[in-house]
């Protein structure tokens, strides 16, 4: 469904992505792991054209894009099918929770308001915020804000949702509620590409794990492949650093 070939991206002479390939099928839940600065977030942002990649190709259903010659029309078409959940939520501060969810539907997709409100309410119900339709972001906790962020993505009924470290700006006690919501929507068959440091989520929910380091994909496979029997030295080193010694995986 989504295929990325040989994507490159530099910031001021610093090459962050050095030719990454990626293929995602419908229903996949893919988690990207890797140390900070490995290019995971940049990869995600390039897929949604929040950054302009320097070279490479993308195939998205029937749309083909050469990153060197991107057409505005294609950007818009792909963004209509891809939703994004931001690390720092990026809720529209001047809109209520419900308006945050319906904005893209009414303005971006031209869906009639009544219908959009219905979809929006359903999405907020799904993330457990039925009581907070009319709350402004400033009235919500970080965890609630991120759940609105997820509802905003889900409501668009996209082909894929990209999650950029959705829990790393949260206080530890609020991480659980957001991960639970993500698990729920994964269980519904939503296609997801998730950058995260939550190893538990990767282990339990992902059907494929990608380990990135230094702007390239080092290793990929099932959670079992990566966590229990990693092949590459860099993967082993990383896992040793982030997972405590006595932590055992039951897969």
């Amino acid at each position: 469904m989504l295929e990325i070939k040989n994507i490159h991206k530099s910031f001021g002479g610093n090459e962050i992505l050095k030719g990454v390939d990626l293929a995602i099928d419908k229903g996949d839940v893919v988690v990207i792991l890797g140390p900070s600065g490995s290019g995971k977030t940049t990869l995600l942002r390039c897929i949604n054209f929040l950054e302009n990649a320097d070279q490479g190709h993308a195939t998205f259903g029937d749309i083909q894009v050469d990153f060197q010659h991107v057409k505005k029309k294609d950007v818009h078409a792909i963004r209509q099918r891809v939703a994004f959940v931001f690390q720092n939520y990026n809720l529209f501060t001047n809109k209520t929770a419900l308006e945050n969810v319906t904005e893209g539907l009414i303005i971006g997709r031209k869906i009639p308001k009544a219908q959009a409100v219905e979809i929006g309410k359903k999405a907020l119900d799904k993330v457990g915020l039925s009581e907070k339709y009319d709350a402004y972001p400033s009235q919500l906790s970080g965890g609630q804000q991120q759940r609105v962020g997820i509802a905003r993505a889900v409501a668009l009924n996209p082909d894929i949702i990209l999650f950029d470290e959705p829990t790393s700006a949260l206080d530890p006690e609020l991480v659980g509620e957001v991960l639970q919501v993500m698990k729920n929507i994964a269980a519904e068959g939503t296609t997801m590409l998730v950058v995260t440091h939550e190893m538990g989520f990767a282990k339990d929910v992902a059907n494929r794990v990608i380990f990135m380091d230094g702007g390239v994909v080092v290793e990929e496979g099932s959670p079992h492949d990566i966590f229990v029997s990693p092949k590459e030295e860099r993967t082993k080193k990383f896992l040793k650093r982030v997972i405590p010694e006595d932590y055992t995986f039951y897969i």
Partner: protein
């Protein structure tokens, strides 16, 4: 103190209010959109234009408005004269209503002030707001009109209020262009019997009423607009 004169001249001064307000409103109608667009060129560092905008802002902020008035009021007739003579147009430039000069002068200075107001307001809006708008499928234009501008406006409003009050006050310099506004009208009335103290007291009171009303209205509007922020406080 001549109380009879004080009372009569109050209404003379008051009769200058429509002109002062007209100049203010027209100047703002030009300066608000133009200032916003030029602020965008500064934020996005559009080549050449943003440098010109910077010099323009520096000039307006660095020179007294009375001197801007002197310069514009004496240069435009010169320019027009040259143009009209060249193309043999018979038009008496000294018959131009001074209000046109007032529009130009005050739009010229307000635009520069508002560029800075909008620039600082826009820089307080996080880049993530634009990215989030893009990510849910809004075009850049939609993102600005629906998300960025409403937020920037709330931030900018107190400064737009200050700029408006300063603009109203600055129209008192219209005398230099023979504009029959509040100050000039009352002053002319005072010339007859040298009742300057009374006349300036009247002018003072009229501006006080005018500016505090404008400030009050802005405060009300600000409260209404920032309802999403009040919830936080």
């Amino acid at each position: 103190m001549n109380y009879q004169f004080l009372l009569e001249t109050f209404f003379v001064a008051l009769s200058g209010v429509p002109i002062a307000l007209l100049v203010t409103v027209v100047a703002l109608l030009i300066a608000l959109p133009l200032g916003f667009l030029l602020a965008l060129t500064r934020i996005n560092k559009i080549p050449v234009i943003h440098h010109l905008a910077k010099i323009y802002v520096s000039f307006v902020r660095g020179t007294p408005i009375i001197i801007q008035i002197f310069i514009i009021y004496s240069s435009i007739p010169l320019l027009l004269k040259i143009i009209f003579e060249k193309y043999h147009i018979a038009f008496d430039i000294y018959k131009i209503n001074p209000i046109w000069y007032a529009f130009i002068v005050f739009a010229f200075s307000s635009t520069a002030i508002l560029i800075e107001v909008f620039r600082s307001a826009l820089s307080t809006i996080e880049k993530g707001q634009l990215e989030a708008a893009h990510s849910v499928g809004l075009t850049t234009f939609q993102a600005y009109t629906r998300i960025i501008i409403p937020q920037a406006l709330v931030v900018a409003l107190p400064n737009i209020c200050t700029a408006t009050v300063n603009l109203i006050k600055a129209t008192s310099l219209g005398y230099a262009m023979s504009l029959p506004e509040i100050t000039l009208k009352a002053k002319v009335a005072a010339n007859v019997g040298y009742n300057y103290v009374e006349a300036y007291l009247d002018i003072f009171i009229v501006y006080l009423i005018l500016c505090s009303t404008v400030e009050y209205l802005f405060k009300r509007y600000e409260k209404y607009l920032s309802k999403y922020k009040v919830a936080n406080a």
